[in-house]
Symmetry: C2
Amino acid sequence: MKCAGPIEVRDLDESCINIDPIQVGGRLTPEAMKAVIAYGDGYSICDHCRKPFRLDFIKTPPVDVFFRDLADFLHMDVARVVPGARRGFQAVADTYVQKGDPVLITALSHYTEVLAVEGRGGILREIPKTPENTLTADAASEKIEAVIRETGKAPSLLFLDHVDYQYGNLHPVKEITKVAHQYDIPVLVNGAYTVGIMEVDGRDIGADFVVGSGHKSMAAPAPSGVLAATSERAAEVFRTTSVKTDVTSRTFGIKEVEMMGCTLMGVTLVGMMASFPRVRERVKRWDQELAHSSLVVDALKSIEGTRIRSEYPRKHTLTRVDTTGSFDEVAKTHKKRGYFLSSALKARGIAGTIPGATKVWKFNTYGMTRAQAGYVADSLAEIAVENGLRVG
Amino acid sequence: MKCAGPIEVRDLDESCINIDPIQVGGRLTPEAMKAVIAYGDGYSICDHCRKPFRLDFIKTPPVDVFFRDLADFLHMDVARVVPGARRGFQAVADTYVQKGDPVLITALSHYTEVLAVEGRGGILREIPKTPENTLTADAASEKIEAVIRETGKAPSLLFLDHVDYQYGNLHPVKEITKVAHQYDIPVLVNGAYTVGIMEVDGRDIGADFVVGSGHKSMAAPAPSGVLAATSERAAEVFRTTSVKTDVTSRTFGIKEVEMMGCTLMGVTLVGMMASFPRVRERVKRWDQELAHSSLVVDALKSIEGTRIRSEYPRKHTLTRVDTTGSFDEVAKTHKKRGYFLSSALKARGIAGTIPGATKVWKFNTYGMTRAQAGYVADSLAEIAVENGLRVG
């Protein structure tokens, strides 16, 4: 069925259990869906925008309250919404990185952090990861010293993924920010996989900036995200325009340069707002999410030849699994080749894996009920047994 | 009625004739509304994203075709979608403006162009407008020469609003780009008020870049927009990442630095796509839109003491009107003061004016039926007569 022109109606989350590694934390709540329908038009949020004409001053709907709630939620001083986490990275890179400045990322950093720094002409340096795919304060400290030896100056910024996208591992952010601050390096904590699904206390972990993704983990439409800062850093990254034009002598009020004025409107902002009360509650049930995740992870571990590549026990619902010694062996002789796995899952109503992938792949159990997690676990074991793999 | 928490259902466009100057070209089509409901989740567009993992390669839904159609529609070589026109300005400023570079805007430029240049540390210079609030090639030429005398170099970029947001005046873009190109200055044509409602031929007007706004004029959710370029300029602004990281030796494929990877997903992109067939057709009916606009403009002109501040006859549906000598005189003694006008309009089912504004204000008739335009025209005349103003 088409919804418009050649565009098929999408019903993946209505018809299947979705285990896509990046999708599950972003699915809209019923409240967001209703709000999206009422606020489809772009400027729908702007009907009651009055002086000083800035998003965070709008009272109807209560955008002003939402911005303050967002900052409180992250235990930071000031929050702004942005068109995706990457635009938060960009705003911070624009503020702190000059051409030729060394900037620290990590061996597990997301590519959008790289692009944010590349756009400013910064020189990227990675903090190495351990063989267990985690980051350590010692590695951070050594790398900072190495950068100073190499370039003569401390990195102007450090991007640190709270939970990384590759393994879903939880890193010792608090210890690393402590090291960075000894060198006065501001730290941006990328919470794309944490903000909105786990509790994040920016103050406790020593973040100068916390960035979250609306469409990845806050049940909001895309592109959306949050950039929160300490009050000290907010004055820098949310600085207002200081231009006065030469002919008309125009000035532009309290528009924030890095935000480019208003950032999100209509569906993206209202969707974030509508989901927020539920998001604020759901982070408290993280243990339950991890318990559901364990069911699936343990089922995979029980399949002979399968290895969990992420840290174990799991501290996040995104997991990287290596089935080279199990499902990939099956693929070698199966008539569907590597497609047998996604196909067998799909036949059982489980979607979100890359068709053909049987070696190293990722999945995310976030948002499943216990029954759904049990079903996915049983299905994986069943598929293994049906294809002659030993389980148990 | 609330749709979620404290958020009131918005039904302004269902219950009123909306004449808001910035809203009317962005209202969703029925097709976009349906698509938005099916694609509410952020990564909904990504189910079939395969190597090389970039938005413009996705075939289901046909994003790849849409990108090519967008470029054709604007008579440009390459098009990308962006989170609002301003993010198009930013990408181009990032590419061409170094700290201290002079950059030309005009006396009628939108503030987001200013912020894009301020973010890069460029020095803004304005091309003056005529007393009739239009721009001329002569003024552009003189200003370029003045900048060269002042700074020793030609501006590195020129931002030119096709139709400006202040008066809705149509400027001689073709003549001005010709002048700029004599100095090798790339020209970004800001089509926020033209792309999607009027025919725009980027090649004919000599644009190096054409930027459009999805939520302002392309019946798409916010934030959305288009950045189109000639093939020569596309190679610059859409350059791909060249980073190789120092520890993990990672590279990042064909991700485009200024786009920061993928730009729009879910509702914003699918909304643009779903509206596009209708948008492509509606630009051909611009004459009809102007005829409807004339009904309202002429009604206002017929009210003694009222002056149309925009060029006349109108070439755009956005018009700036000065009612200081008419409605503002009424406001001085009316018991509702300045609120009488918006209140009287609202009572007649006409919304989108700023409450209390009776001096200089703007309205936009885009998208009205002839009957609606006639009704708005009659209502304005009626309100004038009821308040003792002479009409005719």
